[in-house]
Symmetry: D2
Subunit: 112 residues, 4 copies
């Protein structure tokens, strides 16, 4: 993770692109990349989305890379580490949605 963070800092510095990378702009870029992932799946059925062709998986991998890049850059602006943030959020979710209570239900716990 640190390696990616440092590489991303260098990449932007070498191109003098930090001026464009305000948190606001990075958030926009993140959502645009997330939408490109949605675009891959939008006309597929759920079943089809489980069985992608090799080319689609390659395309998906690139888009996942893009999301990860902008997520890491945005997080880095505030000293946040995405992996760490995910682990902490998962702990919150474990309390919010106790396994015994929500088993097999799509609805979120607090909607009951």
């Amino acid at each position: 993770m640190e390696e990616l963070i440092y590489k991303l800092r260098d990449f932007a510095k070498e191109r003098d692109w930090e001026q464009f990378h305000s948190p606001k702009n990075l958030a926009m870029a993140l959502s645009v990349e997330a939408a490109e992932i949605v675009e891959l799946f939008q006309w597929m059925t759920e079943e089809q989305s489980k069985n992608l062709s090799k080319e689609k998986i390659e395309k998906l991998k690139e888009e996942i890379g893009d999301v990860m890049i902008y997520l890491t850059k945005l997080a880095d602006k505030f000293g946040i580490e995405p992996l760490q943030a995910a682990k902490e959020k998962l702990k919150i979710n474990e309390k919010k949605y106790p396994a015994g209570l929500v088993k097999g239900k799509a609805k979120k716990y607090n909607e009951y």
Copy 2:
């Protein structure tokens, strides 16, 4: 990274939630979480977005955790590792946008 992947698998299995986690649905959830990050910044100026209050940073950290969770889950369905995907994408970008050519320009290299 592996630790998060395994924890996410267990989390869904214990709740019998894998049935809802088709790649299509995970892509949707990812974009919804990305939009929640955008929502944090939408009425701020770029300058304001650089100076978040402690509460906003805490909120942002949770949202970053959510994006990371869905990104990792989606990637895991296809044996993709987000960190690895980001590093590979960064290499592609280094070739696509050579530092010498694009320095200080917002426009992308291939739009010139």
Copy 3:
């Protein structure tokens, strides 16, 4: 349509909110509202999404209203009329996807 445009102008002027409504910010707000619609459907199957409860339809109606509001405001900044834009785009699509060629296919014409 004109009625809505004028009402939206008055609404922002009375609140001195035009300062926040740069096209960039309106585009962000539009995408956030679109994501709130996605959120309504994200864990449903396609079948379930066709059979919403009365409350969900009421909620959806509000979200559709929000998207329409930001779309109209953004369009108004450039003298664009959303309904007119839709009709013109539909004409483009009719040429791009001739009925005879694409019948029953999810893939877009230019992907064949």
Copy 4:
């Protein structure tokens, strides 16, 4: 508005595309098109976003057309009329954000 609704119904019927147009899929398509609008503005400053070139305005018009098309199609599935929904939502907003209370403030009324 009715004219657009009927034309969209015919367009999908002639291509046998209704099978792909579940509300869930239409919601996804709507958000993808909204993201394409965000993409136009993502690296611009707010000032730049107010002064688009003729080509960018033409591009924006097409994207606004796309959003309007999917919004209208989705709404039509539930007998919702987007213009009407916007007017009703505007009335709700007028009560939620009284002009006297929120004048010139970016924060929403209920965050005070």
